[in-house]
Symmetry: C2
Subunit: 332 residues, 2 copies
Amino acid sequence: MKKLINSPEDVVTEALQGMELAHPDLLKVHYHPHFITRAVPVKNKVAVISGGGSGHEPMHGGFVGRGMLDAACPGAVFTSPTPDQMEAATKAVAGEKGALLIVKNYTGDVMNFDLAAELVRAENIPIESVLINDDVAVEDSTWTAGRRGVGATVLAEKICGAAAEAGQSLAEVSALCQRVNGQARSMGMALTSCTVPHIGKPTFDLPADEMEIGVGIHGEPGRRRAKILPADGIVELLVDPILSDLPFKSGDEVLLFVNGLGGTPLIELYIVYRRAAQLLQKAGLKITRNLVGSYITSLEMAGTAITLLKLDSELTRLWDAPVLTPALRKGV
Amino acid sequence: MKKLINSPEDVVTEALQGMELAHPDLLKVHYHPHFITRAVPVKNKVAVISGGGSGHEPMHGGFVGRGMLDAACPGAVFTSPTPDQMEAATKAVAGEKGALLIVKNYTGDVMNFDLAAELVRAENIPIESVLINDDVAVEDSTWTAGRRGVGATVLAEKICGAAAEAGQSLAEVSALCQRVNGQARSMGMALTSCTVPHIGKPTFDLPADEMEIGVGIHGEPGRRRAKILPADGIVELLVDPILSDLPFKSGDEVLLFVNGLGGTPLIELYIVYRRAAQLLQKAGLKITRNLVGSYITSLEMAGTAITLLKLDSELTRLWDAPVLTPALRKGV
């Protein structure tokens, strides 16, 4: 296992310590239970909170800051955070306007966020949860009933963060989050597996000439194994199911998000972006916003995922709003 | 070779096309010869230009934009751009105040940038070149006489870009670039090799339990092979030679840049940052600015590089100035 880590059991805590040392102006890291808040919490607005297993950095901790998340709860690698983490994080940042929990659809996350929401509700903090389930690859999979939540999470966190910052109510931010999820579709693929530190061997075996189409962000099986294709062919295998699922249609304005899974360098992501943009243009879609980079990773997995969000004027305006986090910043 | 590419000979052009499609608000890509300029060139200032082999993205094209570069020349993968590229780029962006070429110290780059400077000077455009040679790992190496130019390049491009934007003269921006280079030191290490697309096999073989300490950004040999250590031990092997080289001394204010080489995910970079910050604090240094991410890559190589820049009030102010590029943005 070739990784820049110390012992597997210290990976999450030490990475959090690194984040705290690197971004004291933006973040505060709390330990036992572990959660990340803004350096200076803002309580006169809806708190937007997310979390999930670690190993997907910068998601979610890298999105804590002005215009995006108020708090993030990192679990162990590829493992849901516990209800007490989420409860503590929510209490630390939620004010009278309450909190929105953005939950990726994995069975453990859903269960623990539900428990946390109950604990918080019992203390009279208004709280809503929205499930993200944008992955069109498979209906059920290893750790998920229904579709998995992937790249739309990043977009929902940005857009809902902007709405909360602008003073929208919990009901409004929650409805907005559902709208983002409803208008977003994603699919990913892997060229290589990743290795979970405490397991020490690759999550799956993939022959040198094969790829996994529709892979999950923990290495869950996708639709099928296939012989590796040139990038343009791979991109078609991701874009076609996305387009037909919503369905997106000619004239739609969209945000195109090309994501790297952790081990794929930027030069390749731009080659992916090129073909994806060409295919969307051919389908009559107008790409009015985009995001290219490794924002939701699967440790060091090589591969890419494409997310498409149908925009409207409100979503576009909220996407453009200022944001100041370790991983995403503009207008500030 | 597992890569998201089409044919090896199209990698650079297609990645440029992807960049152009993704960032039309920021960049314009010119072809034959290939170079990247700002979408709207600004000619009433010193033009800051860089370039080098491709495979190090986002460097340099991702740093073109307001407050940083005016133009970038991408060569083939790990191959110097040609003098005609640099000449065309310089003519496209340089006005009366002239142009600064920021050149990483690799023999091919130095030779071709020198030729380009001569061609441009013959047309009465004032031009200066500054060589970046911050890598303390080795004195001479595969493609370099003297020390290699690595992470300080990113810092010099940001700082000189800000100075040019603020109206400094060519002599001033050039002196500033030399100062940044003189006050910066770097060293890197690799856990794995990378594979150059048109070669199709790893640049070097590294056993499963070994690492290359002092590796170059094209996979050039470093100081030595060693058994892999825990991250904290690896970071010490990088930080100690950096500290003793300048030398940095207690009380110095520094910028700490932890760079990923392309295949290393962010969670590991924060573990590296943690230890580096601890070591610098122990040495009495004050880390007042930092940068964590994959900004100068070696295709999909797994590994990290650390750059330390001694700051003063002018460098700090220029580092903090607004920048708006695909890969680095703040204050805008």
